[in-house]
Amino acid sequence: MDPIRFENEHDELQYKLTAYALGELDDAQARELEEQLKNNPALQAELEEIRALSARLSGELGREAQAGDQLRLSQEQKQTIHARADEAVSPLKLTQTQQHSRRVMWWRSAGVLAAMAACVAVLVTLQQVSQQQVQTPVASRPTTTTGSDVAMQTPAESEIKSDKLAASQPRAESLRGTVRLNDNVTPFVPSEGAARQNGTVLGQTQSTPLMEQDAPGSGSAPASALKNGGFNPPAPAAAPATDDRGYAYSKQADPARRRLAALAPAPETTDKPAASSSPVLTAQPMIADRDSIPHELTRTHRSFNTEAYDTITDNPFMAVSQNPLSTFSIDVDTGAYANVRRFLNMRRLPPAGAVRIEEMINYFPYHYEGPRDDKTPFAVHVETGSAPWAHEHRLVKIGLKGKEIAQAQKPAMNLVFLIDVSGSMTSADKLPLLKEGMKLLVNGLTENDRVSIVVYAGAAGLVLDSTPGSEKNTILAAIDKLMAGGSTNGGAGIQLAYELAQRHFIKEGVNRVILASDGDFNVGVSSRDQLIKMIEEKRQTGVFLSVLGFGTGNLKDATMEQLANKGNGQYHYIDSIREARKVLVHQMAGNLITIAKDVKIQVEFNPARVQGYRLIGYENRMLAKEDFNDDTKDAGEIGAGHTVTAVYEVVPVGVKMPGDRSVDPLKYQPVEPKLGPAAINGLASEELLTVKLRYKQPDGDVSTKLEVPVVDSGKPWQEASSDFKFVASVAQFGMLLRNSPYKGTSDYAQVLDLAQSGLGEQPDEYRQEFVELINKARQIQERQQPTQPAPLPTPTPLPARE
């Protein structure tokens, strides 16, 4: 026992009495004290006093601790907690104790329950000791697994934390995530109170004009496809590793090839094993050669299993002398932003591989002007300015704006909804959300449009035969009737959907099957390969396929994206009514009406002006320079009203190139680059670069080329447009989140300033939300500083007072 210096013996006795009164003396000491107490009434009286005071303290202080609602966490905070609780146990522990845990599960379940009961008993005792008035019911509360409100909280995500896990069983891990789960228990967190956005959108039933023709800021359709970013099929061949946040990722040898491989119809005989085409639809848990892990375990850990992020190596600075051409495919996906937002709302930093900067930039609407004439499907706008995070560098923003289609000229639409109504679709973030979204969409339809509804997986068959868009009541009634539940398998499904689409085909219109699901694809076709084949065939006939993903835990992001790709449609992930509105109403035209396809960009830099450049983002979209003129190479599509933005960071001549990767001077070719025709003519000496674009008409096969030469305006950053400033802030934010080696002097304060300067005259809700996200990221980062526990200060002799 440490020496304590007591003032006197009595003091020491009191110390012991106090400890005794509080039950803190061990048996020997207690008996000793009891001896002393026996014949000492004074001492006994003191003990009573101490006991009385203890009781009073416990009583009053205890009540204080349960006093009122002020001490409660907010609804949002609790939701975040419960969302995290729904995630799996750390997989590292799982691996290490896998064998062990099987036994725990199956043989020691009783023991565990007993331990928990004992623990509970201990806690209850503690409560009683402090005489808390409020009896916290320790008996289990019913766990609601379905929310009753439209939940705004982002779905529970999870992470593959352990590199050990990944290393020890890469194949099994990636495949385990493919277990298709039929259970009705959704991992989604019930909202315990009114959802934040409940009141906003649902009341709006007036028809939203299809295209908003008026001034900027009123939501000219932003880039469309919401993809749950980053859920690309892992390439299991390479040894998985973890990035510094502990997320498992797999190295992709060649992003461009991989992407094109994903787009190509036939499985390529590349070095990627078949798993990269992600056999997601198999119903069996494909646990390779291990002891079969109990199904319950895989169910438990499904949510972290579906997530794996590819690593993205930031595009490095390229020297113009070696690489004068930069070529990439445009992309209008926006999923990465929604995904990053989800992480931040759960008070976590996203894994670096999830932060695809181009998708984050493209999430927002920008005020680019559309094309002047009707022949070109889009307009190109280039802006230049200094780079906020590296003042001697320049930023070049290339923006495309697809032409709007006026309401009067919008093509007629023949839409067939193919809806998953399996039991798991019951939760608030799935079927109910889809229904609300559909109703909003229906409101914008006219008598030239047609809508049909087919269901699968819970019931099967026709819910609504093809109905003109003007008969809104009929359609809305059918939507209302939609219900999830039941367990019938397969049946009609996709064949019926396509049949309907074909039967009511509209020439020169939009004919689309829209598949909506949380991840079950038993649409009546036995294998996924067959499914893909069918989708491709039908695409040739002019019926395209888009996919809407909902919910979490079961979401087969990679497959959905693939199906949409094959179907010439888009994949959107819808996690809130606001997203539903964005996808199904605001951007409906853009998503359904393609105005140009296979759009590629190639930039040639002028070595007289530019020493080096770096494309920010688009790492997954890079093309070989020969691909630009190759019309057989697939690329991205632009929809009506879409904007697409790409940003280059440019190192002007005379400024030191970052990084010094020197290349040996050539032996067989001239050291000086030969002057190109423009340079010789002297015409191009002013130009910084030329942007070239190739695109095809939606039903064409031959591409058309556009060229846009660009002269650096030399404008100071303050004069940049607010769009430019905002784009730069998103790019910078992305670089910070990824901890990019090129982030320069960036920090969150700078990002915030930049974003706020880019809010513009009438900041829209999306930009404002972005500002909030910056703050969240900053807070999370700050709170992740290592904790230095501070010991309680030792009692020092108090000055003066005593």
Binding site: T18, Q66, A67, V89, K93, T143, R299, R783, T787
Partner: protein
């Protein structure tokens, strides 16, 4: 047998239900800011979610309070760099921020007791609260505050003695 996830969810839910308010109160005292206190407690529960129940079940309270305390002190340090933690807080009456409990809607502490308590130095107050308000044992308090068990006992003893004297004087 319940699903493992289900168990965990239950466990977390119970923990939140049971400890939410005391932890917020505890954190409030340490950070002197209710908003911050709630965030700290949220962080604490989030951390709990990352743990395996089996590892913590038997000392849940101590775990929660320790994490909560560390987080609170971190946060307090960042938000108010000027306030040295080592100084006993007996100046609390003179500070501009009123002690948290006075902002509670329902005053649970009698005037007497509140006054007497607030006259104690901060370390004694904290330990006494941990004992009587939060129900931790000497051992758990010691773990949470990084003192020895004996030291904890000593602080409580001195505190109780002081309280007795003051209350007797007031009576």
């Amino acid at each position: 047998m319940k699903q493992p996830t289900h168990d965990r969810q239950q466990w977390i839910r119970q923990a939140v239900e049971q400890y939410e308010r005391p932890l917020v109160l505890y954190a409030w005292r340490l950070t002197m800011n209710l908003e911050l206190a709630r965030e700290v407690v949220q962080d604490t529960f989030l951390k709990l979610c990352d743990q395996t129940p089996e590892d913590i079940q038997d000392h849940l309270a101590q775990w929660l309070y320790t994490v909560c305390r560390n987080r609170s002190l971190d946060v307090a340090r960042k938000e108010k760099p000027m306030k040295p933690l080592s100084e006993p807080d007996h100046l609390v009456k003179d500070q501009q921020t009123p002690p948290p409990e006075s902002q509670l809607e329902q005053a649970e502490l009698s005037q007497q007791l509140a006054q007497a308590l607030s006259s104690l130095p901060a370390n004694q107050q904290e330990v006494i609260r941990l004992k009587f308000q939060h129900g931790l044992s000497y051992k758990d308090i010691a773990k949470t505050t990084q003192l020895t068990t004996t030291h904890v006992g000593y602080l409580i003893h001195v505190g109780i003695k002081s309280l007795r004297q003051q209350l007797a004087a007031q009576a």
